[in-house]
Point group: C2
Chain length 363, copies 2
């Protein structure tokens, strides 16, 4: 059974299709989108070993001419150098304007393949086939693409919407558990900022910290409702003019923690978990959110196997400094997304530095 | 006196302002566009020496915080490496989303500054201050930005419209004459494809091959009517879905000649001149255009000091091969823009290779 979520945008709408085993229908799903014959699959060695052959067979069966470009794995290769390699493959395989890049991988591959597609011949089609939970519920949807500058994350990029997002939940079986949990942080985020019902369903589950302990129906619900949340927000604010900022819940302090721990000790999802705990508490301190709701949130973060405390050794003054460097700073003021009730948040740049410091000290 | 031409686009419209001496009003013209305080001026050493100080003074007087990034001059530096340098300057000067890049230069600087602006923080503002005739009437308008791949021109890029195009015709005084003539090729193109009246006015001028022999009023007319032509076409077809293809008149064979002569012997404008002569003759052979009209066109090209013959040593078979590699090829068919009367063209992919060969052999 396939669940379909529509992302409605003025210039080009597209479907997010969620179905177990759908990797083998990739080619089929792409026919009917009026794409040219040529396809370049971008992936990394780990993912390609697991799923490359199936994706390529499916594309070939549907009549596509397929080439591939395998980039080294890891965030540290998310740079212009890797983009150059995709361009080289695009040239070698003579990708014309009608050609399509298929991103087969997590957020790193998706962001790079998307950026290369955005900028090759001033824009060719991209199809996202996310293979991590984070990519399925977050990075593959919404058209943000890009790479890192040696001195800062995601500084280089473009908005470029995919023509299709194809999610096969079965590929999550090979995903390392820590990566799965990182994705759960974003799922919990959707519960807090947008979908109290999703939150409640996760609350009702005994386990949340490993794929194999979670009922397939709950996984399906998680994927469908998270994708719906992201699609809703993106449809209402494609270019991040306003509403889309709420997706940064937990990310303000999260990013600071991530960068101060060198993007290694703490991964993105873990940092977002910590950031949500901090933001929730700030909302409580400012009298915006109820203490019991924060506790519900924190319990869920913990059930997902994510940390709820600052890693030892991270300097609180350094976090406060780092906030100032964040892209979300406007005219020198740090912007926070804060919950007011489960499923509802507000955006403010009126959080006193003292409150931030206090909350962090208590964590 | 300032002439203003509007480029009307669904997402963001902008003005092309043409006024002698307006370089000193750059800052002033930029206020009111709701741009942030920070500006990065991108230029090359030659242009910056002539005009950098005036541009920067004007910006500072208007209250902007200005930094600059000077890239080496020349088409061969229009590559990702130069873009990386703009990114480094953007980082160093902490350009936020509200910041603006000012492109002070010809098409090379404009394309690179535009691409960097398109991709820094997924898009910041760019203001185009074109300093060559070609950039004024063509490359600064319409939002095409990009760089070259080592193996192909303009393969990497993005659409990113400027917030303002500011044209000061006086800067043309320092432009080398060969560059001036290259720009005239595009102006003649607008006459043939869009504006028979512009064509007639140039026909009526005794000289056309050097700025100082041309009446200032005619220069003004040339700038205004050419910018209007480009603005009209771009407004009707921002992303090159159809109409915009007519801007490629003379460029099909022109690009082949340019690339076969290594982009040195023959420059872009000269190649376009040769390409227009060829396209005009193809249209005559196919019974689409009158012989007398081609002759009018060729006379004007000649009066502008541009070549009307193939450079010796260029192999005709090689040109025909090169056409197949062109970005304008769709499903293996070469697309030609051909005139049907002065100011009107049509697009066709039905030109027999024999006709192309014959016409080139006779040139
Ligand atoms: N574009 C957006 O809107 C957006 C949103 C959030 C995050 N991001 C970006 O996403 C990136 C993080 O993405 P991620 O969390 O997916 O990490 P990732 O892409 O680095 O993948 C994590 C690891 O899991 C491996 N892997 C992926 N799928 C697998 C599978 N099915 N089986 C086995 N191994 C698998 C990968 O090889 C990698 O080592 C960051 O660069 C971040 O900036 C982008
Ligand atoms: N984006 C578009 O729509 C578009 C359209 C056409 C061409 N282009 C691009 O434009 C580029 C060509 O642009 P161009 O013809 O302006 O060449 P250019 O930018 O290389 O400038 C030509 C030369 O003139 C010098 N120069 C510029 N202004 C001067 C001045 N006022 N006084 C003295 N010297 C000056 C420059 O330093 C350079 O050496 C190509 O890369 C082409 O691909 C883009
Ligand atoms: Zn995130
Ligand atoms: Zn041209």
């Amino acid at each position: 059974m396939t669940s379909v979520i529509n992302v409605n945008l003025p210039e080009q709408s597209y479907e997010i299709a969620i179905a177990p085993g759908s990797l083998d229908q990739l080619g089929e799903k792409m026919t009917g989108l009026q794409l040219g014959k040529k396809v370049l699959v971008v992936s990394n060695p780990t993912i390609f070993k697991h799923y490359g052959e199936r994706a390529i067979n499916s594309l070939k069966t549907a009549g596509f001419e397929v080439a591939s470009c395998i980039l080294p794995a890891g965030e540290r290769f998310k740079n212009l150098n890797s983009i150059q390699k995709i361009y080289d493959a695009a040239l070698e395989n003579r990708l014309e304007r009608s050609a399509t890049i298929v991103a087969l991988g997590g957020g790193v591959i998706g962001d790079m393949a998307g950026f290369a597609a955005a900028t090759w011949l001033r824009g060719i089609s991209v199809v996202q086939v996310p293979t991590t939970l984070l990519a399925m519920v977050d990075s593959a949807i919404g058209g943000k693409t890009g790479v890192n500058h040696p001195q800062g994350k995601n500084l280089i990029g473009a908005f470029h919407q995919p023509r299709l997002v194809l999610i096969d939940p079965e590929v999550l079986k090979t995903l390392p558990v820590r990566e799965f949990r990182a994705g759960m942080a974003e799922v919990i985020k959707y519960g807090v900022i947008w979908d109290a019902e999703l939150f409640a369903q996760m609350e009702a589950s005994k386990h949340l910290n490993q794929l194999r302990y979670i009922k397939p129906e709950l996984i399906e619900t998680i994927l469908i409702r998270s994708c719906q949340a992201k699609a809703d927000v993106v449809s209402k604010d494609e270019k991040e003019a306003g509403l889309r900022a709420i997706l940064n819940y937990g990310h303000t302090i999260g990013h600071a923690v991530e960068s101060l721990t060198g993007y290694r000790l703490v991964n993105h999802g873990e940092a977002v978990g910590i950031g949500m705990v901090a933001a929730g508490q700030i909302a409580v301190e400012l009298g915006m959110w109820q203490k019991e709701e924060t506790e519900r949130q924190n319990a869920l973060i913990q059930k997902a196997g994510l940390p709820t405390q600052l890693p030892s050794g991270v300097d609180i003054a350094a976090i406060i400094d780092a906030l100032q460097l964040d892209k979300k700073v406007k005219a020198g003021k740090v912007r926070f997304v804060l919950p007011t009730q489960m499923g509802v948040v507000t955006v403010t740049d009126e959080v006193p530095a003292d409150t931030i410091r206090q909350v962090l000290q208590a964590m």
